[in-house]
């Protein structure tokens, strides 16, 4: 990345300037700040972090790639499918961190083009005030029942890559058939643009349950706890298992990259999957990729996870989206 640094003061030594890495990151702001601080504690100001959502991250990197010059050195966020696409375009630099060996098995994917550094679970969030104990949907299939008609939300697979992954998960669970999604449509599932909006809808009582990644719900609950109110939000962990959505990190390929810069990038990846960083992420509800780090509070220890075939999702993305939209747009 040959991006000029806007803030680059003249006082910065040339060397440090060249070593400075550009990070495009999506994730909770406080977590990212904490991580940045942690990383720069010993090294000094060596990274510039741009915070953004998963969608903008993908769009920004892709647009830059289209224009022929990706300004980022490291990208972190979204789903593996994006990385697979970027990898196919030859935009990713291979790097296998020495820490990689310590990761859980299901997280050792990507051939070093990207490194999984946390994951989230697609789960069912519900509103405690409106869903009685006995009605809590404990299985994905519960949501197919007419009982949930008009009480159900999820993000639009056309608008959110995470939702696309969830959709893929839900269809794979049903042997690749789209009946499950059709069932949701029959229940008049409410679509939102982003996953957090689906959580919002549950929190405000507009719907009772939503299919969303778990981390946002956990953070919502945590926030309510912090201000001292009872949270309406709760998570039902489906019996079939929760859909695991990994969050990768990767270095952008750049022949002109200086050694100092490359070093910073590699160190950052090492850092992110280090126990220190993983513990920080843990606080924000993300599932660690390491076995030696505990599950975040609120996540059952014995959680069953459904793993996705990211290669297939990346390849079929168009088809998945199109099917999804066709079902949802049908009158």
């Amino acid at each position: 990345g040959g991006q000029e640094n806007a803030e680059g003061g003249d006082s910065q030594p040339e060397q440090a300037e060249q070593g400075k890495a550009n990070l495009y990151i999506s994730g909770p702001e406080p977590m990212l700040l904490e991580l940045e601080k942690g990383f720069e504690k010993e090294r000094g100001d060596v990274v510039d972090v741009l915070h953004m959502g998963c969608g903008p991250l993908a769009q920004k990197v892709h647009t830059e790639a289209e224009a022929g010059d990706v300004a980022a050195d490291i990208i972190w966020g979204a789903e593996p499918s994006l990385y697979i696409q970027l990898q196919q375009e030859g935009l990713l630099e291979q790097y296998t961190s020495p820490e990689a060996a310590n990761l859980k098995e299901e997280c050792q994917i990507g051939d070093g083009y990207y490194t999984v550094c946390s994951s989230r679970y697609g789960v069912i969030a519900y509103n405690q005030d409106k869903v009685a104990k006995q009605e809590i949907p404990n299985s994905w299939n519960d949501l197919q029942e007419g009982y949930w008609k008009k009480r159900l939300a999820m993000a639009d697979a056309g608008q959110s890559a995470t939702a696309l992954a969830l959709t893929a998960g839900l269809t794979t669970m049903n042997d690749g058939k789209w009946d499950y999604i059709k069932g949701l449509k029959a229940n008049e599932v409410m679509l939102t643009q982003q996953n957090n909006q689906a959580v919002e809808r549950v929190a405000t009582g507009e719907v009772d349950v939503a299919i969303v990644p778990h981390d946002g719900v956990l953070r919502g609950i945590k926030k309510d706890k912090k201000v001292g109110v009872k949270s309406k939000l709760a998570i039902a962990w489906p019996a079939e298992g929760s859909i695991s959505i990994q969050r990768p990190i990767a270095i952008i390929a750049d022949e002109k990259r200086s050694d100092a810069n490359l070093q910073t990038c590699q160190q950052f990846i090492d850092f992110v999957i280090s126990p220190e960083a993983q513990t920080i992420m843990n606080k924000y509800g993300f599932i660690s990729v390491r076995d030696d780090v505990e599950m975040p509070a609120g996540v059952p220890k014995d959680i069953k996870s459904i793993n996705l075939d990211w290669g297939k999702i990346a390849a079929d993305a168009d088809q998945i989206r199109s099917n999804f939209e066709n079902i949802m747009l049908a009158k």
């Binding site: 806007a6 741009l50 953004m52 830059e64 022929g68 929190a203 405000t204 009582g205 507009e206």
Partner: protein, 558 residues
């Protein structure tokens, strides 16, 4: 024989400078976007209509185009009726509490559309008060009222947009030459007939100009459509564009945006066509200031209806925002225990990020709104006061950014400014440039209409008195349209203050903006209460900005 001489070097210079800014901020990115949509990438040159083919052969696109026209058309018409009617009442009748009403409308204008949509859902949604009440009290079937449809979008967008129309038409109506309305009264038309046949038709350029802006803005605006249309699969063209963007299918996204642009181009042609021959002069030498009709016994009923409407459109959402911003949790019952300053603290806690974002947004906002206002006036001047070829096309081009979604504008900016030697990407300048582009349509549209209403002979007589064309414009027409410039400035400023997609895609470290903050807070599940707190901050800044701008406007008139 004398050679033809060129006059007005300075004027030409100014016009050229404006055109240069226009080229850089508006035209160049558009060209890039068009080329890109035609498949001309930076790697190779090949023109293909593949993206268009993909876009236009998709049945979903076609139906979404229909929906788009339905929604944008509906919103424009309703906003004009609502805003125009209210503007007429405020400028032509003896309605009481005008100041209060004006404030309420202005407040409605600065409530972010996203929040507006959310509070309408709270009112009319499935779990909304109205539905619950109907169910609990009358045992109507569950959820008799459904807001999640195209009409729901129209409703919320209309309420969001009508203040824009109102502000513009208020100043236009105030400019109207009263003697023309008196002549109508004498010809046997009552006050309402006079309004319909003379007052409003006379300001047709302003109505259409701002109507066009509303139309384009509604077309391109996704916030409300995403909250209200998307849930039940009511796609508009913008939904498709975002979907393509999300799929990283840039060619289709850009091609769809160009289609969107062409759609609004059709409307623009209709606009120019309808104004082609007639003159709509409402400011002339004989102009008389407005006078009010007495509403008589209707005075109180009318003001009650107006205030009731405004309380639904403004007071409720505004109250929701302000109260929620102090609540621990959105939708909590209001009592001392549920109040907190945590939401505000959260904004300012992030390492000074909150303060920095606010400061940056204010600076960017002032800069972009001011530059856009200046350029906007010059563009409107060129379009309405010169005989340069293609001036109308230029006017339309200057307004393209409002006709496409913000993300597309940001993408165009990235594509345009990433490669040396024009490498501004990664610097705050690209943000400023793109903000200017986003603001320009508002600046142009709010002055272009009113400008057409000024009798040319007023400027002519200034020319005779020794003023150059620029000076004549400055002295004669500019003071007349100052309120409109002010409106345009405030709209632009507000736009920058709460703009998200451009901010998020183009900002650089140290140059975070409120939009970035807002986005991160939202995706962070900070909850609607944090979003409300940011909205309250935006509202307060805008109110202060408005006060300042009014002061400036006043002292200029002196």
């Amino acid at each position: 024989m004398q050679e033809p001489r060129n006059y007005y070097y300075l004027l030409r210079l100014v016009a050229l400078a404006a055109v240069a800014v226009l080229l850089a901020t508006i035209i160049y990115p558009l060209v890039v976007l068009i080329l890109y949509s035609l498949g001309m990438s930076f790697n190779g040159i090949s023109i293909s209509g593949l993206a268009y083919q993909q876009t236009l052969t998709d049945v979903k696109t076609i139906s979404s185009i229909y929906n788009t026209f339905y929604v944008a058309g509906g919103v424009s018409v309703l906003a004009i009726i609502l805003g125009g009617g209210l503007a007429w009442m405020l400028t032509r009748t003896d309605l009481p509490w005008k100041g209060l009403i004006r404030w309420l409308v202005f407040l409605a204008f600065i409530i972010p559309s996203y929040i507006m949509a959310v509070s309408w859902i709270e009112l009319l949604g499935r779990n909304g008060y109205v539905n619950r009440w109907l169910y609990n009290t009358w045992h109507w079937l569950e959820q008799p009222i459904d807001i999640y449809n195209l009409e729901g979008i129209i409703l919320v967008m209309t309420i969001h947009m009508f203040p824009l129309v109102f502000l513009t038409l208020c100043s236009a109506l105030r400019m109207n030459d009263m003697s023309l309305e008196k002549a109508a009264r004498l010809s046997g038309a009552g006050p309402l007939k006079t309004m319909l046949t003379v007052s409003l038709p006379l300001i047709l350029p302003s109505i259409l100009s701002i109507g066009l802006l509303v139309f384009q803005h509604t077309m391109a605006c996704f916030g409300v459509a995403a909250v209200i249309g998307l849930p039940t699969g009511n796609y508009i063209l913008t939904t498709r564009i975002y979907s393509a963007l999300n799929q990283l299918d840039l060619p289709v996204a850009t091609a769809s945006s160009i289609v969107l642009l062409l759609c609004s181009g059709v409307v623009f042609l209709a606009y120019n066509w309808s104004l082609r021959k007639k003159k709509y002069i409402n400011v002339s030498s004989h102009s008389q200031p407005p006078e009010v009709h007495s509403l008589g016994k209707w005075r109180i009923p009318v003001v009650i209806i107006v205030l009731a409407t405004l309380s639904v459109t403004t007071v409720v959402p505004l109250g929701t925002i302000v109260i929620s911003s102090f609540l621990k949790q959105w939708g909590m019952d209001l009592n001392m225990a549920s109040l907190t300053l945590e939401n505000y603290r959260a904004i300012f806690a992030n390492d000074g990020l909150g303060l920095r974002a606010i400061r940056n947004s204010i600076i960017f906002g002032i800069a972009a709104a001011s530059v856009a206002s200046i350029i906007g006036v010059i563009v409107a001047w060129i379009a309405n006061r010169t005989s340069v070829k293609g001036r109308k096309l230029m006017e339309f081009t200057a307004t393209w950014p409002v006709a496409v979604p913000g993300t597309v504008l940001a993408v165009a900016a990235i594509l345009a400014w990433i490669n040396p030697p024009l490498k501004l990407y990664g610097t705050p300048w690209i943000l400023v440039i793109t903000y200017i582009a986003a603001c320009l349509p508002f600046a142009v549209r709010s002055v272009s209409g009113p400008l057409q209403g000024i009798d040319l002979s007023l400027e002519h007589s200034a020319r005779i008195a020794g003023a150059s064309p620029g000076r004549a414009f400055w002295d004669i027409s500019l003071p007349v349209i100052t309120p409109n410039i002010r409106n345009g400035w405030i709209m632009s400023f507000l736009l920058v203050l709460r703009e998200i997609p451009i901010s998020i895609l183009l900002y650089t470290t140290g140059f975070e903006t409120i939009g970035v903050l807002l986005f991160n807070m939202r995706s962070d599940t900070g909850g609607l209460e944090t979003v409300s707190a940011i909205a309250v901050i935006v509202i307060v800044i805008t109110l202060i900005g408005n006060l300042l701008i009014e002061k400036v406007g006043k002292s200029r008139m002196e």
